[in-house]
């Protein structure tokens, strides 16, 4: 398995606060890795660094383009997204006043061309392109059982469904790597179990690398092949689920006695 993402000595300082300190990690192709840690450990900040939402204070981020690992430190968010990064957000960030379908279509923006002249003059080829991407979007929505809500406004969906839509939107970008920030937050155990199945399914179907943050241990321990634990910005531990579950420092800092 080849390394797709490599992080070296990454650091982020906000004012006086070091949110991420000297983090190094690697993700391999088709891996499903979890990132856990106490509140305020810097998990979301790490996501923001990797996806270019904020610039790092120090350290390097490399991503595999073709056969080489290239630094993406100085790239803008949208350029990084174009390389094949997709993500969801801790506080859902859907395009609320747009339909479910449009949410997905926006994510596909860079996969089709539709020049200004062509769309304004409505050449037949315009409709052909629209047809094509519409079909793609619909197929994708169908996997998540969302095609029936296609023309609903995103804001009118129940919370759990919104979280699912955010994942679909990420997948619509045809990413190589997908970052999920607390996908199960606010879901009850049954919904969480559904989500767990879904994530596994898409990871296998689309062959993408997934890095997810989650506080729900049933999901993490079920899904993750490897786990990184962050505490106060630093890597506290890494390993397989069972290793992590029995790690004293992780129990002390994060899991608590019951696990």
């Amino acid at each position: 398995m080849t390394t797709i993402l490599k992080v070296e000595h990454l650091e982020k300082v906000f004012g006086g606060l070091t949110a991420v300190a000297d983090v190094s990690m690697q993700l391999k192709n088709d891996e499903l890795v979890a990132l856990i840690g106490p509140n305020g450990a810097g998990k979301t900040t790490l996501f923001n660094l990797l996806t270019g939402v904020i610039p790092p204070t120090a350290g390097m981020i490399y991503f595999r383009e073709k056969e080489k690992l290239v630094s993406i430190n100085n790239k803008k968010t949208y350029q990084i997204a174009d390389l094949g990064f997709a993500r969801t957000f801790q506080n859902i960030r859907l395009f609320k006043n747009m339909t479910v379908l449009d949410n997905v279509l926006v994510a596909m923006t860079n996969q089709y061309k539709e020049g200004f002249i062509k769309s304004v003059l409505r050449f037949p080829s315009f409709y052909r392109t629209e047809d094509e991407i519409l079909k793609k979007a619909r197929d994708l929505l169908a996997i998540f059982d969302l095609d029936k809500d296609m023309y609903k406004l995103a804001s009118n969906l129940p919370y759990g469904v919104q979280r699912r839509l955010e994942i679909v939107r990420g997948l619509a970008m045809k990413p190589k790597i997908l970052f999920l920030d607390e996908p199960a937050a606010g879901m009850n155990p049954e919904e969480t179990a559904d989500l767990t199945r879904l994530i596994r399914q898409i990871q296998q179907q689309f062959h993408i690398t997934v890095l997810l943050i989650e506080h729900d241990m049933s999901l993490v321990m079920n899904l993750a092949q490897r786990i990184y634990v962050l505490d106060q910005g630093k890597l506290l531990a890494k390993g397989t689920p069972s290793e992590i579950q029995h790690d004293k420092s992780v129990i002390k800092a994060y899991l608590g006695e019951e696990g």
Binding site: T44, N48, Q90
Partner: protein, 292 residues
């Protein structure tokens, strides 16, 4: 050198007028994020009130000033109640349009009732010019300058030190949460309007006295300038509004003194844009970064 100091005085006294108006703007904006377009017109109402009570009821200056503050405060509350409160949960741009509507209403209503010509403000306070080494300043200029500084301090104290001030700050960040700790939303917002409008009323009387000329459209230009001042200073910030006001006053004076009076406003706007590009939230504005 003498010219320089004279221009400095000119700039400061012009700036103090903008600052006086900007304070009211910034308060209202700070709390409900509404560009209260009608603020300049409340100032006009204050001037007209002063005009009438002095001419007809022969009020003295202080009485005219205080009564104008009371009347304008009441006007502000009534306007808020009728035109803005029903839109509390509507998009902000809707409230902006009603604010514009209120502004049109006040300007044209006053023009209808009293005619649109300029009229002279009764000179209840005799203007005295002091000459300090060839630099002139009048008692009224001083008065305005001092008043705007004092009002700024009082406002800052109200906001930082009083219970109402804390309520105002709470409302300005989160309505629901403010109510949940027991803040009376409507009362707090009414209070803010009363305060801001009372200050505009005071400004109306003082500026009426200073320039000796009032008309129904007098609030328009200074209103926009004051808003620009509030933005430059960081809208929502009391010291920012004052600073912005003085900055614009000094800038206009500078531009005119070098002979570019035709481009006076253009220069102000260029500086505004440049400042916003460097500090997108104004000089004292808090840069509330969204946490992703």
């Amino acid at each position: 050198m003498q010219t320089f100091f004279q221009q400095l005085i000119n700039g400061l006294s012009l700036g103090s007028i903008y600052a006086l108006l900007a304070l009211g703007y910034t308060m209202v904006y700070g709390i409900i994020k509404l560009i209260n377009f009608a603020h300049g017109d409340i100032y006009m109402l204050g001037a007209f009130w002063g005009y009438y009570v002095i001419n007809v009821w022969h009020f003295n200056f202080l009485l005219a000033l205080l009564s104008a503050m009371v009347i304008c405060g009441i006007c502000g509350v009534v306007i808020e109640y009728l035109a803005y409160r029903p839109l509390r949960h509507s998009p902000r741009i809707t409230a902006l349009i009603t604010a514009i509507g209120v502004s049109f209403f006040l300007e044209n209503g006053m023009a209808y009732l009293f005619g649109s010509n300029a009229r002279d403000f009764p000179q209840v306070v005799k203007q005295v010019n002091y000459d300090i080494g060839g630099v002139r300043i009048s008692n009224i200029q001083l008065e305005i300058l001092i008043t705007s500084c004092i009002l700024m301090l009082i406002l800052q104290l109200i906001i930082k030190r009083t219970k109402m001030g804390r309520a105002m700050r709470a409302v300005s960040v989160d309505n629901d949460a403010a109510e949940l700790v027991g803040v009376n939303l409507n009362r707090t917002i009414s209070f803010t309007f009363a305060l801001g409008s009372a200050m505009a009323g005071a400004a109306g009387v003082m500026i009426g006295l200073y320039y000796n000329s009032i008309d129904p459209l007098m609030g328009l230009t200074p209103g926009i300038k004051a808003f620009v001042a509030a933005v430059v200073g960081g809208i929502g910030s009391v010291p920012g509004a004052s600073l912005g006001g003085f900055l614009i006053g000094l800038l206009e004076t500078l531009v005119q003194s070098v002979g570019l009076s035709a481009y006076k406003d253009a220069v102000v706007y260029v500086v505004l844009i440049v400042i916003l590009l460097i500090r997108p939230m104004g000089i004292f504005g808090k840069n509330v970064k969204e946490k992703v």
